[in-house]
């Protein structure tokens, strides 16, 4: 019988892999991918809690919708920033973007 533990452990693993990506990768877009993985782990948790704890209420799904919107907004702005930075500095390696103003 499938239980909530499956999904929680899976989401925790996905979150940690994403965290590793965010902390270890050099390329800014790769970091953004790591963030996407973490957000997906969050959504899985929200939906799993909805399904296992209170399928008659809709709160989990409603918040998952909000997370989707935030993820989309974050990617749009993030990628626009990277392209803008790339135009000026010709790099998007996170450790080379070290000036506050140029």
């Amino acid at each position: 019988m499938i239980s909530l533990s499956y999904f929680l452990v899976f989401a925790a693993a996905l979150f940690c892999i994403g965290l590793y990506g965010v902390l270890a990768r050099k390329n800014a877009i790769a970091i953004l991918m790591g963030i996407e993985l973490m957000l997906n782990a969050v959504i899985i948790n929200l939906i799993a809690f909805w399904r296992f704890r209170s399928p008659e209420m809709i709160a989990g799904q409603a918040f998952a919708v909000i997370v989707f919107a935030v993820a989309a907004a974050e990617v749009a702005v993030g990628l626009a920033l990277f392209i803008s930075i790339y135009r000026r500095r010709n790099t998007i390696a996170a450790d080379e973007i070290d000036l506050l103003k140029w």
Binding site: M1, I2, S3, L4, S5, Y6, F7, L8, F10, A12, L14, F15, C16, I17, G18, L19, Y20, L23, A24, R25, K26, N27, I29, A30, L32, M33, E36, L37, N40, I43, I44, I47, A48, W50, R51, F52, R53, P55, E56, I58, Q61, A62, A64, V65, I66, F68, A69, V70, A71, A72, A73, V75, A76, V77, L79, A80, F82, I83, Y86, R87
Partner: protein
């Protein structure tokens, strides 16, 4: 093992494998394609959780928009030099260690919680979840304010992205 468990295990293994490839692949386009596989796996899990709406939304938003935008951005910002160097920074082992510690801590914390082994309850019959979700998102007693704030955020992101990426002719 029930059918549900088998499907879950296969999907979980594929998804987590894909996720590992996302954070380790040297070629960024490959990383993006692995990301798409991972997102598909997550979509299947939403399906297992009776959230068909999210399965479809995951494909539309994450794969159709986010992943494709990322591939687009990767193609726009390619540099030959970048492929040669290391794709991770100096402290990558520290990051790996931290992730492992966090994972262990999370699983340990979950296992002490009484609701950890909650079994799958039956879905309430004759309830159209999509209808309920739609009503909840726009009803004043539900989530209309978070919903509106999310739409304002999306609008701000739209304008912000255009402003930031605008190439000023000087």
């Amino acid at each position: 093992m029930t059918v549900l468990q088998v499907i879950f295990l296969i999907t979980a293994v594929v998804t987590l494998g894909g996720a590992v490839m996302v954070v380790t692949a040297r070629n960024l386009i490959h990383a993006a394609l692995w990301l798409i596989l991972t997102l598909f796996g997550v979509a299947v899990l939403y399906g297992l959780l009776n959230a068909t709406f999210f399965t479809v939304i995951q494909v539309v938003i994450y794969i159709g928009a986010i992943a494709i935008l990322m591939i687009f951005a990767i193609m726009l910002t390619r540099r030959v030099k970048q492929e040669a160097g290391s794709s991770v920074n100096k402290g990558w082992w520290l990051a790996g260690l931290m992730s492992l510690v966090l994972f262990t801590a999370l699983v340990w914390m979950f296992s002490t919680w009484s609701g950890f082994q909650t079994t799958l309850p039956v879905m309430p019959a004759n309830v159209d979840t999509i209808k309920v979700l739609g009503t909840a998102l726009v009803s004043p007693n539900g989530y209309v304010i978070p919903f509106e704030i999310a739409s304002v955020l999306l609008m701000a992101a739209l304008i912000g992205a255009v402003v930031v990426a605008w190439e000023r002719k000087s």
